[in-house]
């Protein structure tokens, strides 16, 4: 506060965005420098190691028809979109509120002159910054390592796929993040239900008919252009949903889940165990 400036009315909470920014700074520090981030960095960075290995050793040994770009497509379609990104979202987003409750620090947070929704918004922004900072560079580096393994020819034609993949990675982190934030606000122990959602409910995406529309991964898979050969039901029934529908639904999931989480968090009484 600058000298001579009128004193702020401390009985009123800070404006939404200003409060969120303060929470963002605090939460970002705790999120980036944590063991969780170290583990996620390793998981998200594994394709980069694979890319290095491919260029150094595997490119000469694999059949010519398997190109580096094909492998990049497999990494994006299977490794990132179906596994690591949802897991990253689960472990970060469910902890936004649940960690504060479990650590019994929620009381200190709620007694600050902050709107509850700005607390959630700030923490969600920190989650987004952390996960995007880990995943997007890994995707870019993996792309260049694999797509240029046999020379730069043809990379220009692949660039739109890179941009699309970056968008899908970001949208996936936002969508799963919003969903698991809501889960974290609703439940005391949200990780197990989150895992069940990811590895049981999301399997509906492999079924025919309208079932994939009840999953998040069904929309994400439809947005990326990589469709490597799959096995089992996914191979037989895999369907591609229209892109405008996918974008609309995923943005809707973010808005609805975050909105619901903010609403519930604003009204919920947190009674800590003694």
């Amino acid at each position: 506060m600058t000298p001579g400036a009128p004193a702020r009315d401390v009985s009123r909470p800070l404006p939404l965005l200003r409060g969120a920014r303060g929470v963002f700074d605090l939460a970002l520090d705790g999120m980036v420098w944590s063991r969780r981030s170290l583990l996620m960095a390793v998981l998200l960075g594994l394709p980069v190691l694979f890319g290095v290995l491919y260029r150094a050793v595997l490119a000469a040994k694999l059949p010519a028809r398997v190109t580096g770009f094909d492998l990049y497509g497999v990494i994006v379609a299977f490794y990132y979109v179906r596994n690591v990104l949802p897991l990253a979202a689960l472990f970060y987003a469910t902890a936004l509120v649940a960690d504060e409750v479990e650590g019994k620090t929620i009381t200190f947070l709620l007694t600050r002159p902050l709107q509850r929704s700005s607390i959630l918004l700030g923490k969600f922004a920190a989650y987004a910054a952390t996960t995007l900072s880990l995943s997007l560079p890994a995707t870019v580096v993996t792309f260049f390592l694999l797509a240029t393994a046999r020379g730069g020819e043809g990379v220009g034609a692949r660039v739109p796929d890179l941009f699309r993949d970056l968008g899908v990675v970001a949208l996936g982190l936002f969508a799963y993040g919003a969903l698991f934030t809501l889960l974290g606000v609703l439940l005391r122990r949200p990780v197990i239900p989150g895992l069940l959602f990811l590895f049981v409910w999301e399997l509906l995406a492999n079924l025919p008919g309208y079932m994939p529309r009840f999953t998040v991964t069904g929309y994400l898979r439809s947005l990326i252009s990589h469709r490597p050969a799959d096995e089992g039901f996914a191979e037989i029934f895999g369907q591609v949903l229209p892109a405008p529908l996918c974008l609309g639904v995923l943005v809707g999931v973010v808005v609805v889940c975050l909105g619901a989480a903010a609403w519930i968090f604003s009204r919920r009484e947190y009674v800590l165990d003694q």
Binding site: V32, V140, G156
Partner: protein, 340 residues
């Protein structure tokens, strides 16, 4: 003051920003047209009147064990025509071809065009055409490219031209010139055929071969087939009527087994069920012939028919051994008759 965590976020942003800049640079320097499904970028220069498209991944097909098995048995080595072709043009189809795209056009003037992608010795090929080409071969310049014309005075002269250093364009003169015009002007004229584009986008990626056809092609197919046991030479005999298809997508692979998938879109659910029943009937007929040829039973078992709303899906997974068993065996040479 930048905290450590903000520095990490900043560093990540720099990496992503640099990657995006390099990517944009690559796009600017090598503005290769993005493909649509399995259709390579240069294929978008095909005319919008295209009724069907057939694509082969020649590299995958020639590298497959199936090709090796059948090629070995057919020719005991390379066919003479491949050897001659390589000597005259430097082109080895088994080594130098990457992909083939066949486009069938709707009008009588422009029947069709074939795009062949691979590694060509352009000068050697051109010299071979100009010096050893057949009688009736002429050439002219069109859209900045030399177009070789076969039987220029005929009703539908054939033509050959290089779309680029690695893409050969062969077809009727009208179709070749139309495609060259679109390519030279950077027009993606095939996008004007929205129906066909939608089908191409649905082709299963990674297929070794594929085909899509829209309603304009399928309307020309026969609407009935002779019923089993009916005489083919009698038009008024019993027949099985086939529901009209709105579109068809065929995809396939040859490794590790011959995998085929045909998706037909019927006008409604009832028509799809009807067509599925016809398909199942034919599969059952094949199975009934198993007494004469046991391999037919395995062949019939390899097929499955399913419907989903107004779509019929016919899938087949045929092991190479079954194909081998079904191939007609060469007739045994008759022993010379003994003379007294």
């Amino acid at each position: 003051m930048m905290t450590r965590s903000r520095f990490v976020v900043f560093l990540a942003s720099v990496v992503v920003g640099m990657g995006v800049l390099v990517a944009v640079g690559a796009l600017y320097l090598h503005p290769a047209r993005a493909a649509v499904g399995p259709l390579p970028g240069f294929g978008l220069a095909l005319p919008a009147e295209t009724r069907f498209l057939i694509g082969f991944d020649a590299r995958r097909l020639t590298a497959s064990p199936l090709y090796a098995r059948f090629a070995k048995q057919r020719a005991q080595g390379r066919p003479d025509v491949f050897r001659e072709l390589e000597e005259k043009t430097g082109l080895d189809p088994e080594r130098d071809l990457d992909g083939v795209l066949i486009a069938g056009l709707g009008n009588a003037k422009e029947s069709g065009v074939v795009l062949v992608q691979g590694r060509f010795d352009r000068s050697k090929l051109a010299r071979a055409l100009e010096t050893e080409g057949k009688q009736g071969l002429t050439w002219k310049s069109h859209a900045g490219t030399t177009v070789y014309l076969f039987n220029e005075l005929a009703k539908k002269p054939g033509a050959l031209a290089f779309l680029s250093d690695d893409t050969l364009l062969i077809g009727t003169q009208a179709a070749v010139e139309t495609t060259l015009d679109s390519h030279a002007q950077g027009r993606e004229s095939l996008r004007g055929n929205a129906g066909l584009m939608t089908l191409v986008e649905k082709v299963k990626p990674g297929s070794a071969f594929w085909m899509v056809g829209d309603q304009s092609l399928l309307a020309q197919l026969p609407r009935s087939l002779p019923a089993p046991g009916a005489r083919r030479d009698r038009a008024d005999g019993p027949a099985v009527s086939l529901p009209a298809l709105k579109s068809v997508i065929v995809t396939g692979d040859v490794d590790p087994q011959l995998a085929l998938e045909i998706i037909g879109e019927a006008s409604d659910e009832a028509a799809a069920r009807n067509l599925a029943d016809v398909a199942r009937g034919f599969v059952a007929l094949v199975s009934l012939q198993a007494n004469q040829k046991p391999e037919l039973k395995e062949l019939a078992a390899a097929f499955s028919v399913a419907t989903e709303a107004n779509q019929v899906r016919l899938s087949a997974r045929i092991p190479h051994e079954v194909l081998e068993a079904l191939r007609p065996k060469p007739a045994a040479p008759t022993p010379p008759t003994a003379t007294k």
